[in-house]
Amino acid sequence: MSTAAHPVAPEELMAFLDGELPTAQAHSVSDHLKQCADCSNLAAQLGETQNRLASWKVELLPAHAEAAIRQSAEQHGSHLKNFLPRWILETRSGFGWKPLLALSLVTIAALILTSHAGQSPRLAHYAASHTISEVGGVAGYPGAIGGSGQPITDQQSRALSKQVVTLNSPGIAADSNGLLHGLGDHTTNSSVIDAMIARTASLSIMVKDFAASRLSLDSILVRHHGHTAQLNASTSENAQRSITASLRVPANELTATLAELKSLGHVETESQSGEEVTQQHADLVARLKNSRETEQRLQAILLQRTGKIADVLAVEQEIARVRGEIEQMEAEQNSLEHRVNFATIELQISEEYKAQLNNSSPSASTRIHNSLVAGYKGAAETLLGFVLFFAESGPTLLIWLVIILIPALLLVRRFRRAAAAF
């Protein structure tokens, strides 16, 4: 039976037998069926198969299962319908999760907000107390905060200035080298100095005229008896020029120096801090004093007493050790006093850069050539990287692959076998 000879396709005939054809088409197929022996034969075969299938009877649903379903229906009707709201019913069926989700999100948000609101005052107090402890001697600095979290009043600020910054007091004077006497004279003037503060400031300035600012920086340092501890200048062409410097100026000149530096341009960032080293200095002085006394006693022993050579050598060794300690402590003391006497300014000066059009860039062909070379090198490096990686990690990967692959293959085989059962 070919479709050329038959205007009715086998599927069409089957659809007609199934009652799936529109009425008009069904009539034409019906007429054809009466005349065509092949189609009648096919219809008979299909009907025969259908009858075979219809002979497959299934046992009745057991009574206990029917009773269980009816009981569930009764429970559903009596309990859920009557006592639970509709959205809970929908939740049980799987589509009412949205209200629950919204409720959960609102609850979580409320909990988070509540916990944050409870922590805020404590956090503020914590931050404030740490700020004041870190800032230390920045009395009189705008925006300084007291330990209680409240801004420092002018009166408190003045009191702190008096207590902390004693470098401007009449008892302290700078010598020709810029060293301040009175601070290091611990034996006699320790009662005069209430606190020793190592001050540090940080300043970032944007300037228009970079060259002039560079000259001004030198003159400011000379005027205030300061010096440059470190300086890095970047002055490349077609790029923003900048200077990063670490300056040391006498502590009593810090305020004036900062004021002059700020006048160079627009201040972008500024910060000041102070580290109190009074206790550290006092400890150092006491230890130094003890060591010196020990040294004197040892020298007296060496001069006044006689004994074995071994004893003499032992005393000399002890004197040498104590001497070393004294020198180390003296150096430490000098360094500490220098930090107090000379404040540090971390300065960054940047130029307001304006890009300029120039023709100094390489030609297009050169750039293409360079790109091709770079691309070739990159590809070669990548390839080499792959080779090196597999040479180094390949055997290990192979072992792991075998370890993982065999169970995976077994699982796939079992999965296919189980799926084939359906």
Partner: protein
């Protein structure tokens, strides 16, 4: 296809006369069943049930308990599992009654639910068999499908390709129309028609035991035109 000659019988366990009727007189099957007060439609009953009518569910349950059990029983070898899934399907129906909207025929909806549950069950069984090594409780079909004919049909159906087998079962036993099967299996209607034809031919050949049938040859010619 919607104005097709209806050959549907709600109870798949009822005697099959549709094909023979259409052969005899195509006009007779052109009368659509109209809902009446004595025999309200499934959709009306489901709507009534969603509004709290226990009687409506009772009528629906009476109509579909056996077809649904047959649906599972023909696809599972374990009768206990078929009972369990039948119960589960009706429970889903109970729970989702409040959301029911009569967009499609109720039985399509019911079999779609049953189909989802069946697929979930198969996934679970395959997972257990794969990862835990627990075989599904397939009992000897001979003890439950007692007549030899049933066993032969089950074995013949098992040899069909899975989608074709499903299309054939949905058509022959659940009495779904081509478009309903297409909706259920997410296939085009023409594909359903051609694969149903292929399944019927293949099943006949298997049942005959069997040499190639002339019908199979025509299938090859006509398949490309569908």
């Amino acid at each position: 296809m919607q104005d097709a000659l209806p050959a549907f019988v709600l109870d798949s366990e009822a005697p099959r006369t549709a094909m023979n009727d259409s052969l005899a007189n195509p006009q007779t099957s052109n009368e659509a069943p109209s809902p009446s007060h004595e025999h309200p439609s499934d959709e009306h009953l489901m709507l009534a049930f969603s509004q709290g009518s226990a009687e409506a569910f009772s009528v629906l349950f009476s109509r579909y308990k056996q077809p649904l059990f047959g649906f599972f029983r023909r696809r599972l070898t374990d009768p206990a599992q078929a009972e369990e899934l039948t119960q589960e399907t009706f429970l889903v129906l109970l729970r989702s009654a409040s959301r029911y909207q009569p967009r499609a025929l109720f039985r399509t909806y019911l079999y779609a639910v049953g189909f989802k549950i069946l697929r979930a069950q198969r996934r679970k069984t395959i997972f257990r068999a794969t990862f835990i090594g627990v075989r599904h409780t397939s009992q000897d079909p001979a003890t439950h499908d007692s007549p030899d004919a049933n066993l032969a049909i089950r074995e013949a159906l098992a040899k069909l390709e899975s989608t074709e087998r499903e299309i054939l079962l949905l058509r022959e036993f659940e009495q779904l129309s081509y478009s309903e099967i297409a909706d259920l299996l997410h296939l085009p209607v023409n594909t359903v028609r051609s694969r149903l034809f292929r399944a019927r031919v293949a099943l006949r050949n298997i049942l005959l035991g069997s040499a190639p049938n002339p019908v199979a040859a025509t299938l090859t010619e006509s398949e490309g035109q569908v």
